[in-house]
Symmetry: D2
Subunit: 349 residues, 4 copies
C-alpha cells in the first residue's frame, strides 16, 4: 500500500485509481521521476526500474524498494501499466516503439529524437498501437507558466500579439555533453519552442535564430553556441521572441509573457522565499532558485498528476505526439536558420 | 529501508544517522507530522503511532505501514528514540512527564499547557530526566521568518528598535473549539509571542493587549475575541506590536518586520505562484495561500530536520523549555491585560 | 496671467477660477508652499509674502516676483482671498484669529496649537467668522494613502477591523528643536493620528502609547523620546497601531494598511525609481526617497489643488476644524498615556 | 528673473549660469518643452517662441509671457543661446542647418530626418559650425533606464550578452499620422534603437525585423504595421530583442533589461502610485501610467538639465550626432528587413 501524500492528503476524497509505472533509465532524471512516482503522486505506484546497464538501477531500486528488471522483462510485465522512458535520447525511439508494441502507455522524456524521421517512426508506432503517449515537457505544468496559458485560453489577454520567453540556466553543461546534445536549439530551447506552441495554441510557421558563444569558448569549440535569440512566427500572426543563456549567474531564470489586445499575462520568477532587507544603501531580496528541482519540482509533481489523470480518464494527451514532433521540427529549423543566417520556413523540412 | 527524499537527495552525501519517532495523537496535526516523518525527512523514521482512542490511529498506521501501539507500549518500546506529543493540549503535560521518565527525547506540540504551574511540572520532569526537548513552534523554521531572525542576529538591522508581527488566519475556528482553546492569546497569538522572543532575543517584561469581536459574534458568546492587538515591551527596550484576526478572507497572512538602527528586515507573504495579469483596469496577482500547509509546509519540514539534527548533534534545543514556558506566560499576561484594561508586567505572574 | 502647468496642461479645459494667496512665514515650509502656489497649482496665484522678520521674506519674494507685505498689510489687502499660516507653531492661533476676523479664508500648517484651549480659541474665531478653513495635513492627499482611505470609504475592505500605520523619518531633528516641538506625539505622530481618523472615519476614544530613546540620547535629555508605539481605540471598535521612529536610515518610511472583513488596502512606500539589478548574491532595488519633498511633493500639490477646489466650490473642508482639534487632543492623550503608563480616554481631556 | 524650482531648490547652492532658449515649433511637444524650460529647469530661460504658422505660437507665448518671433528673428537674436527644433520632421534639417550657420547651440527633436542623406547634411552643417548639438532621445534620461545603462557601464552585469527592450504605446496614433510618420521603425522603434546603442555602447551591425497589423487595419491600409519585433546584432556580439505595439490597453509599457556575465539590470514600469488592495479573489495594484508625460516627465526634466550642463560645461553631447545618424540608419535597415524578409547589414546602407 502506498504511503504518499500522507499527512496532508489523508482526508481528501476517495482513493485514486492506481496505475503502476516502470521507469527505464536510471540517470539523474530517471531517478527523480522514480522517486516522485514512488513517494509523492497519489494514484501512481512505482513497479520496477530498468537500465541498459543493470547495475545503474540497483541503488535507486534498493532505496525505493522496487525490483530491477531487464528492459525486456519490464515491457513484458503484465502488472505494469505504463513506462517512463528516461534513458539517453538516442535510445528513445526504439524504446517508444517497443513499449507501444507491448501495449504500454508511454511517458517519454524530451526530445523523442533529434532526427525528424526517427520521431515520425515513434509517432507511427504509437498511433498504430493506440496507446496513451505523453512527452515530458514539464514546464507546461508549472503553476505560473500554466496561468499564462490559461489567461490566453480564457481570452484575458484578448487576441495574442506578442509572446516573450526568457529561459536561462544557472550554469552551463560540461562541453562533452554539448557534443551529444544536438545543439542548444534542440537541447535547451526546445522547451521554449514547446512553451510557445502551448501558450499560443497556434503552430509555428517560420523561425529566425541567432546564436553566439559568450559563456564558455569550449562550447564554441564543440560546435555549439551558449547564448541564443530566436524569433518565431505563428500561423495566426503571433510573434514569439525567445532569449536563452547557458549561464545566468543569479539562478534559474524562467519567464513567460503573453501580450495581446486586452492586456498581458506574465509568469515571473519566484524568489527562494519572501524575506528581504533594506539598509542605508540598498533594498535586498533573494536571488533566484538555482537547482532545477528547486524551481520546477512542483511542475514535475503536476506533470505526473496530469499523466495519472490522462491514464485514468483518457481524453487528449496533456503533451501529445504533436508536441513531440513539432518541438523537434522547430528545433531543426532554428538550427538551420542559425547556420544559414536566414529565416527558415517549417515547410522546408 | 526508508524511501524518503528519493529522486532529489539520492546523491547527497553520506546517509544520515537514523532516529525513530513514535507519534502520540492522530488528529489532524498528528497525522501531518506522522506523514512528514515517514516520507520526507532524511534521517527520521516513523516507528509507530498511538492514540488515546486506538481506532483513531488505524487509518494513519495502515496508510504509513507502521504499527498502532498503546501509549504505554510506545513509551516502553526500546527501538523508539523520540516521541511526538500531538494529542489535545490538556494531555500534554502528563505525556511529557511520562516520556521524560521513559527516557525518550520529546517533541511537543504547542502549547505545553494553558496553566503555568502545569508547564513548570513538565519542565521539571524534562530537566530531571535530562532528555532532549523541543516545542512545536514551526514558524521559527519558515525560511522567510528565519531570515528576519538571522538579520537581527547578524546585526544587519543594527540594534533592534521595533518589531511588527501580523498574523491572521484565513477562517475562524468553530465556536465550540474556542471554548476549549484557552482564548485567542493562548491559542493563536502564542505563536507570535514566541516569534517576538525568537527574533528579538530579549525577554518580554510587559504586555498590553486589546481585543474585539468583529468576525463572529458566537466567538464573543463563547467568551473570547477574534481580533486582537498586542504590544510587548522587551527587556532591552525593543517594542513589539502584534495584530491578529481570526479571518483574513484573502488567505493566510503571516508577516514579520524587524526595524533597527541600521535598517529593517521583513518576512513578507509568499504568493501562491508568480503569475499575474495586467488589463485596462488593474494589475492582478495571486491571493495568499489559504491552507496552513500550503503556507507553512516547508517550515514543518525544516522543523523536523532541525529536530533530527538536535537529536544527532546535541547542543541547544531549536525551541526549548524556555520557549515553552515563556510563550504561555506571555499569553496569560496578555489575557489578563485584555481583561483588566491595563498593561501587565510579567513579574506579576 | 499665470504661467503654471504650461506645457502639459495647456489644452486642459476652461481656465480655472483664480484665487490669490498670501503666505505668512517664510521658513522652509512657507517657502515651499509659496513656490508651489506661484508655479504649479492651476487657479492659485501667489499675491504676497510676509514674515515677522520682514527680511526673511525678501529672498523668496524676489525669486517669485511678489511683494513683501507686513502681516497687517497682508491681512488687510482686498485682493488677497486666503492666507497660508506657515509661521512657527506658537504664532498660529493669533494669526488664525486675526485672519478670520479679516474675513480671509485660512490654510494653517499643523498643529494649530499644542494647547487644546488655544486650539478652541482658534476654532471659535473661525466659526464666528464663517470663513473657509483647512489644516495642512498633506498626507491625506498622497495618492497612495488616499487610495487606502477610498478603499475603506467604498467598502472594498468591508468593515474596518485593524489599521496599521508606520511613519519613520529618515533623520532626527536637532535636539534644540525637540525642546520646542511639544514632544514626538504632538510634533510627529500627530500626522498619523490624523491619518487614523481620516481613514477610519471614526473618532478615537482611547489611547495607549509607549516611547523609548533609541536614536539619540540628547533627545532623551531634552525630555522626549525618539521611538514610539501607539495603540488607538476607535468609537466603532477599530483598533489602530502606529509605530514611529525619528531615524530610518534607509529613507522616509510611510505606510498605511487598512484591514477589514472583506480584505485589505495598503499604501506602500514608492521606490525612487523602478530600476533594479540581480547578481549572484542578491537582487538589489532602490532605497526609499529620503527628502520629505521627494516623498510627499505630489501630496502638497494635491493639497493645494484641494484647497483651490474648496475655495471655489465650497462644501466640507478637506481637512477641517475637527481634524485640527482632534489631532491635538489625541496627541495630548498619547503624551499623558506615555507619561503615566496607562491607557487614557479622550473623555479625560 | 526666473521663478523656477522655487520652494524646494531655494537653498541649493550658487545660482546656475543662465542659458536662454528659443523654441521653434509650437505643437504638442514644442509647448511641453517651452513650458518646462520656462518653469522648471534651473539655469534655463525661455527667450522666445516661433512657429511657421505664427498664430500657432500666440497662446503658448502669452501663457509663458515670452515674445513670438519669426524663425528668422529668433535665429538672429543675439540674446538667444540655443534653439529647440520642435517642428515637424520634414523641417528639421533646414532648421538645424540654419541654426548651425547662425552659431546657435541646437536641441533637435527626433528624428533629424527619415532620409539618411538629409541627416548627413545636418551633421555636416553642425560639424562645420562647431556648435553644440543634442537630439531629443529623452528616454536616455529616465532614471530607471539610465540605471540600466549605468549598471552596464559600471560592469555590474559584466560583459553584456542580451538586451531586451519592450516599448508599447497606450493607444495608436490616427491613421493619417501614420502616413507621414515614416513607418513604425523610424517613428516609434527609433527610440529603442537609440536605447540599444546607449545601453550596449556598441554599434549595431545587422538588423532583422518583423511586423504585423493586429491593432488597427487602417494602419495596414496606410502601408504600415502596428506590432513589431526586431532583433539587433551588435559589433561586440551583444544581441538585442525589441518588441513593440501601438496599443497596450493597460498603459505605457516601457522596459529595458540588460543581461550579462555577472547578472542583469532591469528598468521596470513604475506604477501610478504604491497603493494596492487584496480581497478574497485577487491582489490588485495600479495599472501603468497612461499619458506619456505621466511616464516620462522626469526624463524630460533631466534631459533639459543635461542640455544645460552640456551648454555650460562642454564635453561630449549627452545624445550627439552619432545618435542622430545611427538611429535613423538602423530604422532604415529595419524597414528594409521587414519589407524584404531577411536580415539587413548596416553596411548595405
Amino acid at each position: 500500500m502506498s504511503n504518499k501524500g500522507a499527512g496532508f492528503d489523508i482526508d481528501a476524497g476517495p482513493p485514486p485509481q492506481i496505475r503502476r509505472i516502470g521507469v527505464i533509465g536510471c540517470g539523474r532524471i530517471g531517478r527523480m521521476h522514480a522517486g516522485l512516482i514512488a513517494a509523492e503522486i497519489p494514484g501512481l505506484e512505482l513497479a520496477a526500474v530498468a537500465d541498459a546497464v543493470p547495475a545503474a538501477a540497483d541503488q535507486v531500486a534498493e532505496s525505493l524498494s522496487v525490483p530491477v528488471l531487464t528492459i525486456e522483462e519490464l515491457l513484458a510485465a503484465p502488472d505494469i501499466d505504463a513506462v517512463a522512458v528516461c534513458s539517453s535520447t538516442d535510445t528513445h525511439v526504439d524504446l517508444v516503439v517497443a513499449a507501444a508494441q507491448a501495449g504500454k502507455a508511454i511517458f517519454c522524456e524530451k526530445p523523442v529524437s533529434l532526427d525528424l524521421a526517427q520521431v515520425d517512426r515513434a509517432v507511427a508506432a504509437v498511433q498504430a498501437a493506440g496507446v496513451p503517449f505523453m512527452i515530458g515537457f514539464n514546464r507546461r505544468f508549472d503553476p505560473g507558466h500554466k496561468s499564462v496559458r490559461d489567461a490566453v485560453a480564457d481570452r484575458v489577454v484578448g487576441d495574442l500579439h506578442i509572446l516573450r520567453i526568457t529561459s536561462r540556466d544557472p550554469a552551463p553543461p560540461p562541453p562533452e555533453y554539448v557534443t551529444v546534445s544536438g545543439g542548444i536549439f534542440l537541447d535547451m530551447v526546445i522547451h521554449d519552442f514547446d512553451m510557445a506552441r502551448y501558450v499560443a495554441a497556434s503552430e509555428v510557421v517560420e523561425v529566425y535564430a541567432r546564436g553566439t558563444v559568450r559563456v564558455d569558448p569550449r562550447i564554441g569549440e564543440a560546435g555549439d553556441v551558449d547564448t541564443a535569440v530566436t524569433l518565431l512566427f505563428h500561423e495566426d500572426g503571433t510573434m514569439t521572441t525567445i532569449d536563452n543563456s547557458r549561464e545566468a549567474v543569479y539562478g534559474f531564470d524562467q519567464r513567460v509573457e503573453a501580450f495581446g489586445s486586452e492586456g498581458m499575462a506574465v509568469s515571473d520568477n519566484p524568489a527562494r522565499h519572501a524575506g528581504w532587507t533594506r539598509t542605508r544603501e540598498v533594498t535586498s531580496s533573494q536571488p533566484l532558485p538555482w537547482f532545477f528541482l528547486e524551481r520546477y519540482l512542483e511542475s514535475y509533481r503536476q506533470e505526473w498528476a496530469a499523466f495519472h489523470s490522462y491514464l485514468v480518464s483518457g481524453g487528449e494527451s496533456p503533451a501529445g505526439l504533436d508536441a513531440a514532433r513539432q518541438s523537434t521540427a522547430i528545433g531543426i529549423a532554428a538550427t538551420r536558420s542559425f547556420r544559414e543566417g536566414r529565416p527558415v520556413s517549417l515547410k522546408e523540412l
